[in-house]
């Protein structure tokens, strides 16, 4: 176990290094224009350009430039925006993180419950109308672009049916901090959660159904049945348990990817000022330091999440450890 842990740790560090090198090359070494001009943003004065050039070491060798970039990101945390003069980047990202976490955690709770319910219901009623209906609905959920679904939900809840009893409770778009008023927070986040979760309910429902049906043909399920256990108990205690291993792995990967930038579309559509929206807005205002920081932190988070998933997998399924 310790061996696996150390090997995965080394791999993780290597991948993080690889990502930082690629980001460095994209931002500072793409041919075409002066990297200092890119970082300084629109209409930068010669003094600002000179300051950027010195700050990021563009007059020094490449490895020094790389070192300076990483130092700003991981040691001194003093990356500043030049578009909004003097605005520190890291506090902006720190402020945006709770929004992204609220969105993804809430969505994740919805999709885990939804996915398990759909998968179980379909597997139990295999071949029936309910099963087919659920699987078709799941497929439709997978096929809709999330930003479009969000727009449709906005159209329904903010405009067309906002005056009816059904959606008059939906607050205007935007984020309300959880600690200020939990109820308002819940009301603003509910529609974004649903819109984020639909895709994954479809996905996880289908995966779980397939995995449950496969498990149903295994010997240990037949044993459980012949022991005279009730069908519910066989399903919940035996089949579902094994099937959840795949489920947990998928969950970890998707959760990591969503926090690390994947929730961007939902944030943009619902006007939630999360990390993704911040990055998107910085794209519009050509505020490169913000993008640089969020790309590095987000991808590091994804790598870290994948590492945790790998370790969880090794704990859940001892067969993996030797690999």
């Amino acid at each position: 176990m310790l061996n696996t842990l150390i090997r995965r740790l080394i791999q993780m560090i290597f991948v993080m290094f690889g990502i930082s090198v690629i980001v460095f090359l994209i931002f500072f070494w793409t041919p075409g224009s002066d990297p200092a001009a890119r970082i300084a943003g629109r209409n930068a004065s010669p003094e600002v350009l000179a300051a950027v050039r010195h700050d990021f070491g563009f007059d020094r060798p490449l490895y020094v430039q790389y070192g300076l970039m990483m130092k700003k990101l991981l040691i001194t945390f003093d990356l500043t925006s030049f578009q909004n003069r003097g605005q520190k980047v890291i506090p902006q990202l720190v402020d945006a993180t709770p929004v992204t976490l609220s969105l993804v955690i809430g969505g994740a709770i919805l999709w885990v419950i939804g996915g398990i319910v759909v998968g179980l219901a379909a597997a139990v009623t295999k071949g029936s109308v309910i099963d087919r209906g659920l699987m078709i609905l799941g497929l439709i959920g997978i096929s809709m672009p999330v930003f479009w679904l969000g727009s449709v939900l906005n159209l329904i809840t903010q405009s067309r049916f906002h005056d009816t009893w059904m959606f008059s409770w939906v607050p205007a778009l935007g984020y309300k901090p959880l600690l200020e008023s939990p109820w308002e927070w819940f009301k603003t986040m509910l529609i974004p959660w649903i819109s984020l979760a639909v895709l994954y309910i479809g996905l996880y429902g289908r995966v779980l159904r397939a995995s449950l049906i496969e498990a149903g043909e295994e010997d240990y399920i037949r044993t459980a049945r012949s022991k005279g256990l009730t069908e519910t108990r066989v399903m919940l205690r035996h089949a579902l348990r094994t099937s959840l291993i795949t489920f947990v792995t998928l969950f970890g990967l998707d959760f990591g990817a969503l926090v690390g930038g994947g929730a961007l579309l939902t944030e943009v559509v619902f006007g939630l000022q999360g990390v993704g929206k911040l990055t998107y807005d910085s794209l519009k205002s050509l505020d490169l330091p913000v993008i640089l920081a969020s790309v590095i932190y987000a991808s590091f988070f994804v790598v870290g999440a994948n590492f945790v998933v790998d370790m969880a997998y090794a704990i859940l399924d001892p067969r993996v450890r030797g690999r």
Binding site: Q11, F14, V15, G18, I19, I22, V23, I26, F27, T30, P31, G32, S33, R38, K126, G127, R132, I136, L139, I142, S143, M144, P145, V146, F147, W148, L149, S151, V152, N154, L155, Q158, S159, R160, G202, L203, R206, A210, I213, L250, D254, A257, L258, G260, G261, G262, L264, L265, G276, T279, L283, L286, I291, L292, S294, V295, S299, V302, V303, N306
Partner: protein, 353 residues
């Protein structure tokens, strides 16, 4: 789905097939798979709808020039249109709310022009949707081909040669795998804004369709290269390959005759499913204005155009989304059918994140 049902319960037509095949001169695996696919009703209906969508999009120039008589890529703010003998402006004064500002004309539901109404530049949404569909389909297919070729090559090389090459390629794929796709696309596009990249003979300009094609084609390589590598590894240890090695067959021949045909099946299974995933990704990138660049259109950019009109003229954003959903749905259903026909036991993940 009916498609996956067939494989799991193994209903009679599927099992009758080998018996019939034995009587005739043995049908090859491709023929067997093809017959099975043709018998899959859901997959065939999906394929038919998909072909109809492709044909419809290919008629875009005909619709714009001969039916609607509009220019879908230039703004038409002062345009007039005759509906039921009454002349109306394409961009009308708002009547709702305070009556300030302007609203583009709504859907006429007549094929003669502005079938789905106009966007805020007075352009025919339906004509743009057909042209946009061409772009969306083209980007989805081109990136699928790119992705499958790359990941097939990488997976086979890593799996077959193993050792140091495998180590390097696998770590490289780990790096790409962990890269958040939208953030990568944002980084690339902010750097490429107003400039172009020159890679040897290839020049990519900032507005080029090749940019989204490359981004989408590359980010999903690990998704496919990893299973391919795993498959090649297990093939390498399978008895027929060991037998070939034992007989002294040269390794390039083993690669060509034994490994590649098996890998090809897996890659083909991935084609419709990857196309569906790429289609959604393309629309997302275009929605974020880092995919297809204006004045060009794709289904994603039209949804973006429709955001400002969402509450007044919802059809601008609704229609392309429905088009994406239907196209992706048909690809997924067809993909399910292809998978069941070629490899009933594989467990691919469809959709995407």
């Amino acid at each position: 789905m009916a498609a996956s049902e067939t494989s799991i319960t193994g209903n009679t037509p599927g099992q009758a097939e080998p018996v019939g095949a034995k009587r005739r001169p043995a049908a090859g695996p491709w023929v067997t798979a093809f017959r099975k696919l043709v018998r899959d009703k859901a997959a065939m209906v999906a394929l038919l709808v998909f072909i109809l969508i492709v044909v419809g999009c290919c008629l875009a120039p005909y619709y714009a020039n001969s039916i609607a008589h509009t220019l879908p890529f230039s703004s038409n703010l002062d345009g007039k249109i005759v509906i039921d003998g009454e002349e109306r402006a394409v961009i009308e004064e708002s009547t709702e709310g305070l009556g300030l500002g302007t609203t583009p004309i709504g859907p006429t539901w007549k094929l003669g022009g502005y079938f789905l109404g106009a966007d805020d530049q007075g352009r025919d949404v339906f004509a743009r949707m057909l042209y946009g569909g061409l772009n969306s389909l083209w980007i989805a297919s081109a990136s699928t081909v790119l992705c499958l070729v790359l990941s097939g090559a990488l997976g086979v090389i890593a799996g077959f040669f193993g050792g140091l090459i495998d180590g390097i390629l696998s770590r490289l794929m780990d790096v790409v795998w962990a890269f958040p796709i939208f953030l990568l696309a944002i980084s690339l596009s902010i750097v490429l804004i107003n400039t172009s990249i020159t890679l040897g003979p290839i020049v990519i300009r900032s507005g080029s369709l090749w940019l989204p094609i490359f981004i989408i084609g590359i980010v999903y390589v690990p998704y496919i290269a990893r299973p391919i590598r795993g498959q090649v590894l297990s093939l390498k240890n399978s008895e027929f390959v060991l037998a070939a090695i034992g007989l002294g067959v040269p390794s390039h021949r083993i690669l060509w005759k034994d490994i590649l045909p098996n890998v090809a099946t897996t890659l083909i299974v991935f084609v419709p499913l990857m196309m569906a995933l790429n289609m959604v990704t393309e629309s997302a990138l275009s929605f974020l204005s880092i995919g297809v660049q204006p004045p060009d259109a794709s289904w994603g950019t039209i949804i973006q155009d429709g955001q400002n009109l969402l509450y007044s003229r919802p059809m601008v954003a609704l229609a392309p989304g429905i088009a994406i959903a239907i196209t992706v749905l048909t690809l997924n259903v067809f993909g399910d059918g292809v998978r069941d026909a070629l490899d009933p036991r594989s467990k691919l993940r469809i959709g995407g994140d």
